[in-house]
């Protein structure tokens, strides 16, 4: 803060000309093809798409777990090769270490960085306090509810101060009520931190509610079908999900996804499905809706 130079904003993700295929007995299988996406510093971007479209593959490539077959992934101009604490990740399966207490889980990244014990204990306590979890610091994850586990997961990913936060269907395993609460918590946290977020989900409401921009992917092999800005005002509240603006966005995105889901399910039902779709879309041309 006292620095004379103003720090350039951090967390610019750039995925260029990206494709990823893997070997199988029938030859190379394209998982993702010809994809360009970017996340501006401090921006919240979601990727939605039918299951199996490669959205998680894309996220895993940004995390550094998978190498692109062609193209490049960069964060602030530096090519990603391999996972790093710069890119925090939250997984659907919580992935807390069962043998560590809540606080030890949060401390993990700081410990890896070589921070002395007393210092990282203090840091972890502060963070847990912000997430309302200080009472559970000595609990083992097994004793927490799903919502609490994922809060710990998010806090743990943020503890090292990453440039970007990657979330892979983080609320997918939660029940509907808890999911709504978690979305509110996440949007509040993001509002405060202004960290760049890349968020993968198949839940359209979730994507609209949280994001500044939503990428919609096609069925396998996945590529970007549409890029939809979400102009809803911030800070966001759950009540906005009833607004006509929200519902219009939802309708547009829904039809985009349904088209791709039907494609993913096979050609025969495609025509049938498309008939239903035109009926749905009556009175709202796609362009108008978006």
């Amino acid at each position: 803060m006292n620095d004379i130079r103003t720090k350039p904003p951090q967390g610019h993700i750039e995925v260029d000309n990206f494709s990823l295929s893997y070997e199988s007995i029938d030859g190379a299988v394209q998982a993702v093809t010809d994809t360009h996406i970017h996340v501006n510093p401090g921006e919240f971007v979601s990727i939605v798409g039918p299951s199996g479209c490669g959205k998680s593959t894309l996220l895993n490539a940004v995390a550094g777990f998978l190498k692109p077959t062609t193209g490049i992934v960069t964060v602030d101009g530096e090519p990603v090769n391999g996972p790093s604490a710069e890119r925090g990740m939250v997984f659907q399966q919580y992935s807390l270490f069962p043998w560590k207490t809540v606080r030890e889980n949060v401390e993990f990244g700081l410990k890896m960085r070589g921070m002395p014990r007393s210092q990282r204990e203090r840091a972890a306590r502060t963070l847990l306090g912000l997430a309302g979890l200080e009472a559970f610091e000595k609990h083992y994850p097994e004793r927490l509810s799903g919502g609490m586990k994922q809060r710990v997961g998010i806090v743990r990913a943020l503890a090292t101060g990453p440039k970007v936060l990657l979330l892979d269907e983080p609320f997918g395993a939660l029940d509907a009520q808890t999911r709504v609460i978690m979305q509110q918590i996440l949007t509040n946290m993001w509002q405060r931190l202004k960290i760049s977020v890349l968020f993968v989900t198949h839940d359209i409401d979730e994507a609209i509610f949280l994001s500044d921009r939503v990428y919609c992917m096609t069925a396998r092999p996945g590529s970007i079908k549409a890029e939809i800005p979400i102009p809803l005002e911030r800070p966001r509240q759950q009540s906005m999900m009833m607004s006509s603006e929200f519902l219009a966005l939802r309708r547009g995105l829904m039809s985009l996804i349904r088209e791709e889901s039907l494609k993913a399910m096979g050609g025969e039902i495609n025509d049938l499905g498309m008939q239903g779709l035109t009926i749905e879309l009556q009175g709202h041309s796609l362009a108008e809706v978006i």
Partner: protein, 303 residues
């Protein structure tokens, strides 16, 4: 309902007990309930531990029944396919037990067996656990070691006795070696299995938090495998005793296995049963010890 909406909204993420406490505070003041009497506390304790008490009572009864049957069979020298003519009665065994605990020679037999178990088993754990972890983590090591291990594993430790006598200069060393072999393979195989079951997402999570190979090994693979490692240690301890007793009976001069065999040669039948019971108690004790250590090392697994 007198609870406030705030309480309702919070409920999902607060502990149920916390919600219960807030709830009870809003209940109109009742006359203070007196501290529960000794009687109610006893009744409550009984209700909570009923299952355990039941198991304890039935266990005691079944042991007693075993002793009674043993007593009857031997006192009346039953011969019905199995011959109980020479089998000592429980009282004879008890008599030889009271004599034996004052006999330094008997204690030495016990102590020597325990020492052999301790050395052989510890060596097996010290070699088996790290080897299993490394084999599970590095493919090349696995590919090199696994075929050899698979060929040697089915050979019972007893079959190693002649070879062990040739390999090692002293009897003591060959017995410890056989004990080692008996426990080594269960420990190795279970550790390997534990590593193969480590959730890859946990490894990824660690990598995303900046963990390098070495830290991942120490912070993820090792603790995640601990439950299986302890299964291996428990099984290994059992096999260690089996191997030890066999080795002592064949090639030993001391030890509780030798004591039991010697009792047969010297026609001291009560001592045969005494030796067997001693082996049983030591085996039980050592496996309880491992279970206790396991509980200490893995606090997250106990309720």
């Amino acid at each position: 309902m007198s609870s406030s909406p705030a309480v309702l909204r919070q409920q999902e993420d607060t502990m149920p007990s916390a919600a219960a406490v807030t709830g009870s505070e809003t209940v109109p003041a009742k006359p203070q309930t007196p501290a529960p009497s000794f009687g109610t506390l006893t009744a409550r304790w009984y209700r909570l531990n009923r299952d355990r008490l039941r198991a304890l009572a039935i266990g005691t009864l079944s042991l007693a029944a075993f002793l009674v049957v043993w007593h009857l069979l031997t006192t009346y020298r039953v011969v019905f396919f199995v011959r109980f003519i020479n089998v000592p009665t429980p009282l004879e065994v008890y008599a030889s037990f009271t004599k034996a605990i004052h006999d330094p020679k008997f204690l030495m037999h016990l102590l020597l067996s325990c020492r052999r178990i301790f050395v052989g088993f510890s060596l097996a754990a010290i070699v088996g656990v790290p080897l299993g972890l490394i084999m599970g983590r590095f493919k090349l090591v696995h590919e090199v070691v696994f075929p050899v291990a698979e060929v040697l594993r089915p050979i019972p430790a007893i079959a190693w006795v002649p070879m062990a006598i040739m390999l090692w200069p002293t009897n003591e060393q060959s017995i410890v070696f056989i004990t080692f072999l008996g426990s080594f393979f269960p420990i190795l195989v279970n550790t390997l299995h534990g590593v193969s079951l480590v959730d890859p997402v946990l490894v990824r999570a660690a990598q995303c938090l900046g963990a390098r190979e070495r830290s991942i090994f120490r912070e993820v693979y090792f603790p995640a495998s601990l439950p299986h490692i302890f299964t291996g240690l428990t099984v290994g301890m059992g096999v260690a005793w089996v191997s030890l007793i066999a080795a002592e009976m064949i090639s030993g001069q001391y030890g509780i296995g030798y004591f039991t065999w010697e009792a047969y040669s010297l026609v001291q039948y009560a001592d045969i049963a005494l030796g067997m019971i001693a082996i049983g108690v030591l085996g039980l004790g050592s496996s309880l010890l491992i279970r206790g250590v396991g509980r200490l090392v893995m606090p997250w697994r106990s309720k």
